[in-house]
Subunit: 90 residues, 4 copies
C-alpha cells in the first residue's frame, strides 16, 4: 500500500466500523431478533461499504496514479483500479 | 425473526462469510498490503452484500407478508420492508 | 398498474426527468464533450434511478400488497416484487 | 472527449440502448401497464447503467490517465474521475 500513515489509520478505523456493523447483524440473527430489525441493520451497511470503497479509490488515485511520474508504476496502478471497478460494477 | 430454522442457518452462514471477507480487508490494511489487492478485496464484498440483502428481503416477503392472513401483522411487515428499502436505495 | 392517478402522474414525471438526463448524456457524447463532463452526467443518473426504483417499490407495496385482502392477488404482487428485487440486486 | 472514434461509436450505442429502456418504462406507465411489469423493466435498467458507467470509466482511465505523459492533463483527468466516483458512490 505505502500510503501516508494518516490515510491508513483512517482507513483501518472505517474497516473496523464496518466489521462492527456486520457483527451486529450476526448477533441479531443468532438471537432470533425481529426480521424488520435485521433488514434495517443490513440496509444501513450499504452506505458504509460505499464510503469505504470511495475512500479507498480516492487514496489509490492520489498516491499511485495522479502524481506518479514513473509510467510503469502508473500503468499498474491504473490497471489495478480498472479491474476493481469492473468487479464492483459487474 | 421466527423464520424457519433452515433459513436462519443459511442466513447465518452468509453473514459469517461476509464477516470473513471484511476481516480479510482488515488484515490486508494492517499488514500494509498492496493497494491494488485491497481494492480487489473490497470490490468483491459488494456481490456478497447484495446477495445477503436479496436473501433477507425474500425471506421477509415469504414469511411475514406473502401468506400472512392477519392484516395488522402484514402491514407491519410491509412497512418494515419499505423503510429498509428506502435506506438501502437512498 | 391501477395505482392512484396522483401516484401515476408523479411517477411519469420522474421517468421523464430520468429520460432527460440520459438524453443529456447522448448529446454530450454526440458533441464530443469533455470526458470529465460525461462522467459527471452519468454518475448523477444513479441517484435518479435509485429514487425511481424506491418510489415504484413503495407504490407497489402500498397498492398491491399491504392492504390487499385477496390472498391470491397478494401472492402475485409479492412474487412480482421478489423477482424484480432479485434482478435488481443480482 | 477526444477518445478513439470506435470507443465513441460503441459508447453512443450503449447510451441509446439505455434510452430505449427508459422509453419502454415511460410507455408502460402511460399505458397503465401492470405494476409487476414496470418493476421488472426498471430493475433491468440497473445492469445497463452499471455497464455504461464501467465502460466510461475504463475509457477515461485508458485515454486520459494511464498513458498521459503530461502531468497537468493527467492530474485533471484523475480529479475528474475522483469527483465522478464520489457522486456515484454517495
Amino acid at each position: 500500500m505505502s500510503h501516508l500513515a494518516s490515510d491508513r489509520t483512517k482507513l483501518l478505523a472505517r474497516v473496523r466500523r464496518l466489521k462492527g456493523q456486520i457483527e451486529a447483524v450476526e448477533r441479531a440473527v443468532e438471537n432470533d431478533a425481529e426480521c424488520g430489525k435485521i433488514l434495517h441493520l443490513v440496509a444501513s451497511i450499504r452506505g458504509a461499504m460505499n464510503g469505504l470503497t470511495a475512500e479507498l479509490i480516492e487514496d489509490h488515485l492520489n498516491h499511485h496514479i495522479r502524481d506518479e511520474a514513473d509510467p510503469d508504476t502508473r500503468r499498474k496502478g491504473t490497471d489495478d483500479l480498472a479491474q476493481a471497478l469492473r468487479t464492483y460494477l459487474k
